[in-house]
Symmetry: C2
DNA sequence: CCCTCGTAGTGAAACCTTTCATCTACCTCG
DNA sequence: CGAGGTAGATGAAAGGTTTCACTACGAGGG
């Protein structure tokens, strides 16, 4: 029995005679043989695993996104390694090295930094990469949601409700998601004839609940006459943090402070005061990015870089609803 | 320049002369050499990646656990593949095959089924596995939280508050976490002299928010005189679902229905009515399991199977607090 | 001055799969 | 009955790393 035949049984069963095939399958069963993926990879020069690098695995937005990626990958016979950069450049770097050493099928990444030189270098070395939740110029593929529109929707909603002093909570500003959402909000303010400096910006070190609570403290510390009447948070985790802090201090939401979040995670609707938020098609984002990556890797000839942009959607709930 | 020397520079730099070492490192830099992990694995017979198989990556309990695993793994120079079985035996099976083909360093798994034959078979074939969030007999390593005590704590708390009609919401019963928590609750009821059949059991198909909402509908459908005055949910996602449904139907929590969750996820405290819950040391669970696995794999001689059990802790919040 | 020892580096084998050119045996048709 | 054709099986090479037995060389001791 030749090794080549065994390989054919496993990979192209149709070219081997049925009775030989059965004999081989029987032997595999009897011996408890399990093929060695490392050797396959070595031979193929590329693995069957997609690397997905996200900013924060504790953020349900990214787990939803990962779900979409996983589904699309499994459909194509690929698997997914989930890497959590935790918004740290060092950790992102670490994972990118790892994925290169593993000769990943390709990389889906929400980059920590604005500088994409590192990613371009990787692409030049042969590992394909698609940006997720982050736009790009024509030199790469990307799948994102229009964050400027999202920011504008959020701020316009608050302005429509008569708010004049609006705060933006988010950071670090190096994340384009954050700066784009702020830009959108500023645009809405300008369109409504509001002076630029009327928008207070509270920059946070991260996009999580703890940072939100801290921002909440800072807002509460502002004297009541100058305190903003509404905040727009760069994501729902921040918004939940701000909300928690307001509840603790008995600041009424939405009467004393209206809150808009971003992402519309499942828990936004279940919050102490159900959160108004900007919905993003998170799992579709993952699905589209995965398909783009697979196309780029498997059909490099006919592939042209594309920038898919989804539209965000305002979901109004009690946190901004005037009584 | 021999290949063996290059290998030594990368793996045991101290045994190669400094000037040769620098020459090699320079060449690596110039050529943009990236070592091939597949070849290393093939040679080593084992990969440097731990497989972590969880029930539901959308459940923050498991992302916290994964965080603990990732930290401990990174410390030991290992990486983690996160696999989401989604409580499906088929998908669990699929991932277990994948991890075996990849000759994983080892597997950390919260199994879907009570039957551990599959996992024992894998262990016999040489891939080590540690059970997470799930106890075990002495034949394997496991790291878990005492779910019987947890269930008892939850139910005892409700009984202390004077509740006589208590419902348990959770499922599928095949998950030992669910059945153990129910057993604990029943013990508490028995200790309080409550008849067995006074505990209504609503079995759910999964442990997520949607299943919780559905269970909420079923509870609300019970006539007010016979309706339970309190529910104990097998996890926080279910509890949030029940709570959402009650809010929608204007059933007051905790006055008309008290709710206890389980896991104490971050969002439990931020819920419409902050949830009483049973706290588990989720990331410690991951950390301990990873260390146990590493010991089992790297020091098989001196390793003896251990069953680490953590203690759960009751956290009281408004969802059970009498006004 | 020669022998021994130790350090630094070498080269080949092994890990397991896939691929492809080659070969065999059998069947068909003239 | 023989030539040609084909389906099916074979064997060797390649892929990159690590390991280990081995060599070469220089220094120090007798």
């Amino acid at each position: 029995m030749s090794l080549g035949t065994v390989s054919n049984v496993l990979n192209k069963p149709e070219i081997v005679a049925p009775k030989t095939r059965d004999r081989v399958l029987q032997a595999i069963e009897d011996l408890g043989f399990i093929r060695n993926e490392a050797a396959r990879q070595l031979r193929a020069g590329r693995s069957r695993t997609i690397g997905l690098v996200v900013l924060d695995i504790g953020n349900p937005f990214f787990t939803d996104l990962a779900l979409g990626v996983e589904l699309a990958a499994t459909d194509a016979g690929l698997s997914v390694v989930l890497c959590n950069s935790g918004e740290s450049i060092t950790r992102e770097e670490h994972y990118l090295n790892l994925l290169q050493e593993q000769r990943s099928f390709g990389i889906l990444i929400t980059p920590v930094s604005n500088k994409l030189t590192r990613i371009d270098a990787i692409r030049r070395r042969g590992t394909r990469a698609v940006l997720v939740d982050r736009g790009s110029s024509g030199r790469r593929c990307s799948v994102s949601v229009d964050d400027i529109t999202g920011g504008r929707l959020a701020a316009a909603h608050l302005l429509d409700n008569g708010h004049k002093r609006i705060a933006f909570v988010g950071g670090p500003m190096g994340l384009s998601q954050v700066s784009d959402r702020l830009d959108g909000a500023r645009k809405a303010a300008a369109e409504a004839g509001l002076a630029e400096d009327r928008m207070i910006v509270l920059e946070t070190p991260a996009l999580n609940v703890a940072a939100g609570r801290h921002a909440g403290e800072r807002i509460a510390a502002i004297s009541k006459t100058r305190r903003p009447t509404a905040v727009f948070c760069a994501n729902d985790l921040l918004a939940l943090g701000v909300l928690q802090e307001m509840t603790r201090r008995r600041v009424n939401v939405p009467n004393e402070l209206a809150i808009v979040g971003y992402d519309d995670i499942e828990f936004a609707a279940a919050a102490a005061v159900p959160l108004t938020s900007i919905r993003q098609p998170s799992s579709q984002l993952g699905d589209a990015a995965t398909k783009l990556l697979i196309e780029e890797v498997t059909k490099p000839a006919e592939h042209t870089h594309r920038q898919v942009v989804f539209e965000p959607q305002l979901v109004v709930r009690d946190s901004t609803r005037p009584p």
